[in-house]
């Protein structure tokens, strides 16, 4: 930097041809540095609300809700131990059950379905795909009243299995579309070769197809986990005490003790951390899942 500055200075001051030519790359490097700095700045501003939540979670209550804001403080784990001691275990357990089992169900249903619409396509494949994606676009509010009434009649309100089945239905279309895009990348020759060698359908699936789409299965599972873990609307309406999940816990924390910002922040960090980590890991596959497999 120190050597470049005089060059650009001399070029603007005197501007002889020779020095102007050497100034080009130097100035571009400075420009690139400024752009990088700007990008970082924008990213940090964008990230600030999350950062502030994390900082607040390590503060004492008085520091968390002070005006002006407290920037320097002695970090404490008090809030985390208080949250963990306040019986959040059952909420997390419910969220883990709803997320893990629904994701498992989604994979069990979606992988064969995706196989059926890509490797050995059934007739009217496009109609089937269209149907799946249209259910994903169906607003939940349009079906929530009957679901609530039926669940009430069946006596499965406030039952975690109700959420498991609904989350399975919620993520299934996305999973079918995403797995389809992975199946389509499998070269046909490999499958034909396996068939020629006399491998049965099941063997072909187990030994050849599944290992090839394994990364796709993992990415699909991660996306389902993200959506199931964050889901609030169905959990709010269909659960009360026994089956309440983490988002419901956050909201009830907020309404009953809204002033305890530090504790609320700690609970929020704990609630969002699993999915944030899952999302960071699945970054590369995120686009593919969000665009229903349209963009790779």
């Amino acid at each position: 930097m120190a050597t470049e500055t005089p060059i650009t200075d001399s070029s603007t001051a005197a501007g002889p041809n020779g020095s102007a030519r050497t100034a080009g790359p130097g100035r571009r490097r400075i420009g690139s540095g400024v752009l990088t700095l700007f990008t970082w700045l924008v990213a940090l501003v964008f990230f600030l609300p999350v950062l502030w939540m994390v900082l607040s979670s390590f503060k004492q209550e008085a520091d968390a809700s002070s005006n002006p804001p407290t920037f320097f403080f002695v970090p404490t784990l008090d809030q985390y131990s208080e949250v963990l001691a306040s019986g959040v275990g059952s909420y997390f357990l419910n969220s883990i059950i709803a997320t893990a089992i629904s994701t498992l169900f989604v994979l069990v249903l979606a992988v064969p379905a995706a196989y059926a619409v890509s490797i050995r396509p059934v007739e009217k494949t496009q109609d089937v795909l269209f149907f799946f994606i249209s259910t994903r676009m169906l607003p939940v509010v349009a079906v929530i009243v009957p679901i609530y009434v039926i669940a009430g009649r069946l006596g499965v309100l406030d039952n975690i299995w109700t959420l498991v089945f609904l989350y399975t239905a919620m993520n299934l279309p996305l999973a079918v579309w995403m797995m389809r895009s992975f199946f389509q990348e499998v070269p046909r020759e490999v499958l034909e070769a396996a068939q020629m060698d006399g491998a049965s359908l099941l063997t072909t699936m187990q030994r050849i197809l599944l290992p090839m789409v394994a990364p796709g299965v993992a990415a699909t599972a991660l996306l389902c986990v993200i959506f199931a873990w964050n889901e609030f609307f169905l959990a709010l309406i269909l659960t009360a005490v026994n089956a309440a999940t983490v988002p419901v816990m956050i909201v009830s924390n907020m309404t009953s003790e809204g002033l305890f910002l530090a504790k609320l922040s700690a609970a929020s960090v704990l609630a969002s951390l699993p999915v944030i980590i899952a999302g960071w890991i699945a970054q590369k596959q995120l686009v593919r899942g969000l665009s229903m497999g349209a963009i790779k």
């Binding site: 939540m53 002006p68 799946f132 607003p139 509010v141 956050i250 909201v251 907020m254 609630a271 686009v287």
Partner: protein, 314 residues
């Protein structure tokens, strides 16, 4: 069957044809089998409730008063279309959706352009930027309504206070703007990721050729990059719109639709009518209206996905 009759000259040929037909039928079912569980499951959990919603929408039914459950025809639809609140929340829904998608897309394009070059810490910056999308929507509502927009200790009021601007009660004075801010913050990474995928799929040799031919970066952007990005932007706008129309969590947490119903959207209003007002009939009718509106957007979206992306891979 027709083939059997036609070719049924000798008995052996007939048997072979029958075998072929049976094989074809078995093969058809073998192809369908893996699809059926998913299909049946989806139909039971989505289509049956929706048919029931239509049925409920034709009845006057209050959950607290089982005796009220009678067939009323299209009365609920007449009631909601003359309901001023319904019209207001419908307008809000459009406002949230268009506002969020437009701002998020503009910011997303900007961020994607910043990210589409090699620089120190590129991966970290990208990771920081996608975080708002991953954060639990309920938590993002908490974050904005309390940490950022709280009138007494929120960061935003402290920041504008540095410039001598008096404190603002954001979520009660500007409820729609507050919710919209949280929504744009959450959806910008989504748009950014789609646009970035578009930028990175751009053939590099074309860009280099443009540079060699002396095109300015601005010209390259408007005449080469932007047309290439078009289908990615369209996809982002339509998919984003379908998701944002269903916004519920942030409104529930930040404003509870208030003051009054000023900041409610359709999903929130339906929730209020069904689960706080227990008016099943009208809530169901509103649900049907939302679906019809969504189908219109979704049809355009699906056609687009099929046209611009499926055609390239098949």
């Amino acid at each position: 069957m027709a083939t059997i009759v036609n070719t049924g000259g000798t008995s052996t040929a007939g048997a072979r044809a029958a075998g072929d037909a049976a094989y074809a039928r078995r093969d058809k079912w073998q192809r369908r089998m893996p699809l059926l569980p998913a299909l049946i499951f989806t139909i039971i959990l989505t289509q049956i409730p929706f048919l029931l919603t239509i049925w409920y929408s034709l009845r006057s039914w209050n959950l607290l008063n089982p005796a009220s459950d009678v067939f009323v025809g299209l009365q609920n639809y007449a009631a909601i279309f003359t309901d001023r609140t319904f019209r207001q929340v419908a307008v809000n829904s459009v406002l949230y959706t268009l506002g969020c998608v437009a701002f998020a897309m503009l910011l997303g394009i900007g961020l994607a352009l910043l990210l589409d070059r090699k620089f120190l810490g590129q991966g970290v910056v990208r990771t920081l930027l996608i975080t708002p999308f991953l954060i639990m929507p309920v938590v993002s509502g908490v974050l904005w309504s309390i940490s950022m927009f709280n009138p007494t200790y929120g960061l935003v009021n402290w920041f504008i206070g540095l410039f001598g601007i008096p404190a603002v009660a954001w979520t009660s004075q500007y409820p729609i703007l507050s919710v919209l801010t949280a929504l744009v913050w959450q959806w910008t990474p989504f748009m950014m990721l789609l646009v970035l995928a578009g930028l990175q799929s751009q053939p590099k040799d074309v860009l280099e050729a443009a540079q060699v031919d002396g095109a300015s970066p601005l010209n390259t952007f408007f005449y080469l990059t932007l047309p290439h990005l078009r289908r990615y932007i369209e996809l982002g706008v339509l998919l984003g719109a379908i998701y944002v129309v269903n916004t519920f969590d942030q409104i529930y947490v930040m404003t509870a639709g208030g003051p009054g119903t000023q900041s409610a959207n359709l999903p929130y209003y339906i929730y209020q009518r069904a689960f706080l007002g227990f008016d099943v009939g009208e809530a169901a009718a509103m649900g049907v209206v939302v679906v019809v509106a969504t189908i219109i957007i979704a049809t355009i979206a699906l056609r687009l996905i099929f046209k611009s992306f499926m055609s390239t891979e098949q």
